[in-house]
Symmetry: C2
Subunit: 301 residues, 2 copies
């Protein structure tokens, strides 16, 4: 859904590590991203605002409801890469497309809200799901900050398949039990909090989906993450790595936890990569990661 | 995807608490569910097996890829409720439908595997995603136990929108940061493990999606869960409750954590309910749950 280095590093996304490294943590972002207009600046009756999750990014991964919401929208707003991923039938039908490159997620979301307050039916789009490291919440916060209400805009979230599930599907069945998602971006969450969550998740036997694993600016976070996981899990623990899923440069590999840190130095791991860490029971069989549900302890097969 | 009391209590599912309470934990299940045939019992060239996540359960929530996979399948296998949810265009096009009521997830999955080994193109379906408390892993385990391979069956997982995301969308933006999914069913995971995970998740500031929150057989688990959450979080913490999402009896409520335990005694909370627990920052505004990403600390809006 969103576009900075805190975004879901989702299957199908095509943002580049280069552009990511130009944004995200800049201290002067607050001056660039100030939100101006309030609800009183708009004379029209409000339109509507829907946050649409596109799923893995290609048209096949979109739900019918998402497709319908985009057809109903007069304006479609999003990160350039996601707008480019939309099928022509949808972009041709829209009155206006508004896309901006990475980094402008606050101003872009404000633009979407302003257009809705001005009376238009607006969809703000992103890959994955609007509730997964994405703009669903930011949209609501901006609506609130403008003195408008979600109800007045018929604010709706249309869910999509998150990267955790799109990428898990590519390596088999790595996540079938209790699971956590953790982003390694410390842009909006302090690194000590991230470290503490990694410790807890690894200690408690959760499978772990790691979003935003790596950027040039914070390679230390990835190294630290690998060290923490190895404090609690065996170096042979299977780890699924899905790079650029759904893109031309898609790569899927299953490796061992002990080898993960070194891979941070290769182009397999960047901001378009999602990493799936198995739990104590996960094993690799026939090039698939399998995390048993526990049926084998109850049933004979 | 799956059908016993360990399954995803997904938006759109329509299993009843009554039928659930008749299965799941029975000690004699192993005798009923013994898997028989092995790969050597089949003469034909193997067909294919695809595990398809239907998303929230109604046709609008399905991805185009899921729809295509079901059209390509000759046989569709699933829990009766999910087969009933499929659009007529799909069920009419299939050569055979094989559905069984709740509780038979192992024998049903074996049936799907056997049909694939016998040379058919088989889809096994469930709501939500095949990687979320579902049959993706069980299918692989059964293929392995029969001496076949996933590659020989072109085994594929087609992801769907999980209940966490379908239900989160209905209450706003409750899950936008690091998040965990925990099932309260102790059929396949021991209760001390579940309790320890709840402690860790609540202590570490994760938002929490609770699957399978309640059944008559294990109301204690729900009470214990509420107590644990209250040890770490304020009684005013917002909690989203989505009952029977996408069904005629759908109900969506946002309550406070301190009131959750008492709701276990009402029909709002049963096995068709998904519960979304906010973190320390989550607030309720205009009937929506909002978990801030943290942008407000970086940007001025």
């Amino acid at each position: 859904m969103s576009t900075d280095d805190t975004t879901e590093s989702k299957c199908g996304a095509s943002k580049t590590e280069t552009s990511e490294s130009n944004c995200g943590g800049s201290a002067d972002a607050s001056t660039e991203e100030k939100v101006g207009a309030t609800v009183d600046d708009f004379d029209a009756d409000p339109g509507s605002l829907v946050a649409v999750g596109l799923g893995p990014g290609h048209a096949d991964g979109m739900t019918r409801r998402a497709r319908a919401a985009l057809h109903e929208a007069e304006h479609i707003v999003g990160y350039t890469t996601y707008i480019d991923l939309l099928p022509d039938e949808i972009t041709d039908a829209a009155d206006e497309l508004y896309d901006t490159p990475m980094c402008g997620e606050v101003s872009r979301t404000e633009e979407a809200v302003d257009r809705a307050l001005a009376g238009n039916h607006v969809a703000i789009v992103g890959s994955g799901d609007p509730n997964v490291y994405a703009l669903g919440g930011l949209a609501l916060e901006i609506v609130e900050s403008k003195g408008a209400t979600a109800s007045a805009l018929d604010f709706e979230v249309v869910p999509g398949v998150p990267a955790a599930q799109s990428c898990a599907a590519r390596v088999g069945a790595p996540l079938v039990n209790d699971t956590v998602s953790i982003s390694l971006s410390d842009h909006l969450t302090p690194m000590p909090t991230i470290e503490s969550r990694l410790h807890a998740a690894a200690k408690e036997g959760f499978t772990i989906t790691i979003y935003n694993p790596w950027s040039r600016k914070r390679r230390d976070n990835f190294e630290k993450c690998c060290e923490i996981l190895l404090e609690h899990r065996d170096p042979e623990t299977p780890v699924g790595i899905v790079h650029g899923a759904g893109r031309e440069d898609e790569r899927v590999e299953i490796v061992e936890l002990g080898d993960l840190e070194a891979l941070g130095e290769t182009d397999l791991v960047d901001m378009t990569t999602t990493i799936l860490v198995g739990n104590e029971d996960t094993y690799v069989w026939d090039d698939r990661m399998v995390t048993p549900r526990g049926y084998e302890s109850k049933y004979d097969y």
